[in-house]
């Protein structure tokens, strides 16, 4: 390997990563690193309570968001082990990223829930462990 990547190039391409990102922007750096906030997935958890396609259609939820609900339905055991950093966990009935996709459909209008689910789904499909997925979520949303 040679040294053909310059610092200037590195810095110049960095902003491109901001364009078209599915995860949205975030602050300059994370002052608080949360390492142990993630819930343990409930044994035998299913996606039965996640809003259905029909329910989402009734609410005229856009296709892009419906696809994210599809992703969550594929991996309830993972999504239930991820803390959602949108702040919903303090509300009654919420405990994990999975519950953000339950019947009240809060995730349909929450970019943090949506971005987290896309990140988690991508990494789950890549075969990453729950622990590594949690760290990736922490790094971006904590």
């Amino acid at each position: 390997m040679n040294d053909s990547i310059s610092r200037r190039r590195f810095l110049s391409v960095a902003p491109l990563a901001l364009v078209g990102t599915a995860l949205g922007s975030r602050r300059v750096s994370a002052p608080i690193v949360r390492m142990d906030a993630h819930p343990e997935p409930r044994p035998g958890i299913t996606a039965d309570e996640v809003m259905t396609r029909e329910q989402l259609e009734e609410r005229a939820v856009e296709d892009r968001v419906r696809e994210i609900f599809d992703m969550v339905r594929e991996m309830p055991q993972i999504a239930d082990g991820i803390d959602c950093y949108c702040g919903c966990a303090v509300r009654p009935g919420y405990r994990s990223l999975l519950t953000c996709y339950y019947a009240d459909g809060m995730a349909a209008g929450c970019p943090i829930c949506q971005g987290s689910a896309q990140l988690v789904h991508r990494r789950w499909k890549d075969g990453q462990s729950l622990e590594r997925i949690r760290r990736a979520v922490d790094a971006r949303y904590a």
Partner: protein, 297 residues
């Protein structure tokens, strides 16, 4: 009545003249035009609102136009104002947020005394003693490399943890260090930090463009420091922890943290004996942009 009737034409003429004359001074050249400098530093907004006098051929500005020993506002007309949205340290002195009048006692042979005055309504002729300032710091002026015609505040250096506020007029320069409360956490738990130490190489997947990155754990500061070698130059860097094993790359300005590349995540993995042997650099869309591997140490 006769007096009134004869004065009507005069009145109308005067009114016409008045209406044809611009009341607004914005279209005229005003001495020492007002200027403003505004800069956000890691969430802290710093603003300087000041009038900007010009030298206008006057060569002896300090000591002549502004006499030694005078308490002068660095500007003209109304006093210069410094607004801070959060607490900062000015030359190491803690300063509360708010708006402050800026005054400087000019000392011929010694540091100048910069005072932040709570009364921001003073005119430049007020000359309040610096002892009345809520905060007073001493700064040694220096010679500017070039003559600056119009008094100017600037921030030639903005870092992750502060900035240099610079005042230039004529051949004189005054530099003030402003430190803000930084949101960047630079410390790394020892066991994790030691695990990153070693020689690494990273580049674009599938391309022959790798570059060396050497990391070490600095025990006294609990920071992961290193050098990113590009050609014949080494750039000092620090790894800014975002989560366990996930970092962003920080660059230095001098010995202070400069910029943190917040769109890249260095994600270490493939641990052997508790130490990672590889990393990926992912962007904010979670796409892998670079891959790295341990090559030594």
């Amino acid at each position: 009545m006769a007096q009134f009737s004869t004065s009507v034409p005069t009145f109308l003429l005067a009114l016409a003249v008045l209406l044809s004359t611009p009341f607004d001074a914005t279209g005229q050249i005003v001495a020492s035009e007002r200027g403003r400098l505004e800069q956000t530093i890691d969430g802290t907004r710093v603003e300087i609102d000041y009038s900007r006098p010009s030298a206008r051929g006057r060569t002896g500005l300090f000591g002549e136009v502004v006499p030694w020993g005078e308490t002068w506002t660095p500007g003209a007309n109304a006093s210069t104002k410094l607004t801070l949205s959060k607490a900062v340290e000015l030359e190491g002195e803690p300063v509360e947020p708010g708006t402050w009048g800026v005054w400087i006692e000019l000392v011929e042979d010694g540091p100048w005394k910069v005072a932040l005055h709570p009364d921001t309504s003073l005119f430049h002729t007020a000359h309040p003693p610096v002892s009345e300032g809520a905060y007073v710091v001493e700064v040694v002026p220096e010679q500017a490399p070039e003559f600056v015609e119009t008094l100017q505040f600037s921030m030639p250096e903005v870092r992750g943890d502060g900035a240099t506020l610079q005042l230039d007029w004529g051949r004189t320069r005054l530099s003030l260090d402003i430190a803000v409360e930084s949101s960047t956490v630079l410390t790394v738990p020892p066991e994790e930090g030691r695990g990153l130490a070693g020689a690494w190489e990273f580049g674009t997947p599938g391309e022959d463009d790798g570059m060396p990155l050497t990391l070490r754990y600095d025990e006294p500061t609990e920071r992961v420091l290193g050098e990113w070698t590009q050609g014949t130059e080494d750039y000092p860097v620090t790894m800014v922890r975002q989560a366990e094993g996930i970092y962003q790359l920080g660059f230095f300005v001098g010995d202070r943290i400069g910029e943190v590349i917040n769109v890249w995540y260095f994600e270490f993995f493939d641990y052997q004996d508790g130490r990672p042997t590889a990393f990926e650099v992912r962007d904010t869309g979670d796409e892998i942009r670079f891959e790295g591997r341990r090559v030594g140490g």
